[in-house]
Amino acid sequence: MMSGLGDVVKGAAQIAQAMGVTLKYATRRPVTLEYPEEPMAVFPRYRGQHMLRRYDNGLERCIGCCLCEAACPTGAILVEAAENDPGNPRSPGERYAKTYEVNLLRCVFCGDCEIACPTEAIVLTQSVPMPQRNRANFILTQDVLLEPKDANLVIRPDS
């Protein structure tokens, strides 16, 4: 009986202590990151959504060689090449990518496409694929890839 009473006192003290701890945290600033409004900090090597790069003169880097398509382990990339019009070229090579699509639902963000590309046309940016309301929007078409939207990101200072 006496030890039981001691347990009660000890238990009550522990509960009081626990409640003190939670109350202490109530005065702290929330650590929640309100992502689209507040910038998110990522590591520089973070692999996010894809981007197709251009040369400084505006020509597309991609020459439609399909090496990325071959390197992709999940078959997420679709490239269809076409011959360049010599008078109005889209890429400096003989060919350019007529269709270039990345299926984000299949991509595992391994970065193999980036490594395979001879012209460094396809790169993975730090931007996080945004949630979509429609499944079709997860297939990134060329116009999405060529002009990626700015994501609210910063590179982590501690990296």
């Binding site: 626990a18 939670t22 945290y25 600033r29 929330p30």
Partner: protein, 342 residues
């Protein structure tokens, strides 16, 4: 007494009370999510409306428009009636709680309670036990072993914790006889007559009962750390496994309104109900004090939820029978001696 006082005023009062309670339920969920979030250094809902204030409406719309189906193997009518049976007792228990002093509008004196039942405490105890039917019938009609097990556990928990709660209420009734000479079961009388002329000793002794009563209320309303009726981890979802959409939400509505009612009872019994500064000059202020006190007690419920881990079922039962029950009996005995001596 004309028809205005006989019919119109009670009807309007009931309507207002129901609307306020339903709104109170909605904003109780908001309050809980916000406060819990702050206790765990999160922000909580802040997307729907300014500061997330429309979140309860968004939740309600979602629950209502969720796909509604009744599993084929259930006992259909009981299955549909059960959530309502859980909800109604929580609503009607409020009828005997005074939320303010009498006020006068257009020459009519309006009392701010639905009914001054002179067996108020008994009424609350009786109504509280009806809520158990909703749970049992939900579990039984679901025709699912998990549900029936969950329902029986829940019923056992509710019935067990009603005992110490009842004993504490009896002690409080005994204590009221210190002020009035005769013990009163009426909550209206408790606030209007008993609360102002309590002696210090009387208050202190009353406060000893508060932790016991509060623990009983936590278990009775199946709040954390006694939220075993939810049984997420052992019995999938206990008695509500087969429920979805708005029918599932009704059980939680019942729980939250129950919590509000429990807070109101505690405010009435321990915190002096609507009594507060300046009520004598401006009676309507009593409602304000009452609501403020209820919000504080609700905060206590949420604070406990954030701090104390859930207990195991056998701990729950042995805690009630081996600890709370004897303690409340001892409290009753001491109160009786105390009252007899003074």
């Amino acid at each position: 007494m004309d028809w205005v006082e006989l019919l119109l005023i009670p009807a309007v009062k009931s309507l207002v009370l129901i609307v306020v309670l339903l709104l109170g339920f909605a904003y109780m969920t908001y309050y809980e999510r916000k406060f819990l979030a702050r206790l765990t250094t999160r922000v909580g809902p802040n997307r729907a409306g300014p500061k997330g204030l429309l979140q309860p409406i968004a939740d309600a719309l979602k629950a209502i428009f969720k796909e509604e189906f009744v599993p084929g193997h259930v006992d259909k009518w009981v299955y549909i009636v059960a959530p309502a049976l859980a909800l109604i007792p929580a609503l009607v228990a409020f009828a005997v709680i005074p939320i303010g002093p009498d006020i006068t509008i257009f020459g009519h004196t309006i009392s701010l309670y639905i009914a001054d039942v002179n067996i108020g405490f008994l009424y609350i105890l009786a109504i509280a036990s009806v809520g158990t039917y909703g749970v049992i019938l939900a579990g039984w009609s679901s025709n699912n072993n998990y549900s029936i097990l969950g329902a029986l556990r829940t019923a056992a928990q509710m019935v067990s914790y009603e005992l110490p709660m009842g004993i504490i209420l009896v002690s409080i009734v005994l204590l009221t006889s210190l002020s009035t000479g005769v013990g009163s079961l009426s909550l209206v009388e408790l606030v209007e007559v008993v609360t102002p002329d309590r002696s210090i000793l009387h208050w202190l002794w009353l406060w000893v009962a508060f932790p016991i009563f509060f623990i009983c209320m936590l278990a009775e309303t199946s709040r954390s750390p006694f939220d075993l009726p939810e049984t997420e981890n052992e019995l999938v979802a206990g008695f509500q496994t087969e429920y979805g959409g708005i029918k599932f939400a009704l059980f939680f509505m019942a729980e939250y309104i129950h919590v509000i009612t429990a807070s109101a009872i505690m405010v009435t019994v321990f915190f002096g109900g609507w009594q507060g500064p300046f009520v004598d000059t401006l009676p309507i202020l009593g409602v304000f004090w009452f609501v403020a006190k209820v919000i504080l007690v609700l905060g206590l419920f949420i604070w406990v939820r954030a701090s104390v881990p859930r207990v195991r079922y056998d701990q729950l039962m042995s805690f009630c029978w081996k600890f709370l029950f004897p303690i409340s009996l001892v409290y009753l005995a001491i109160t009786a001696v105390f009252v007899a001596l003074t």
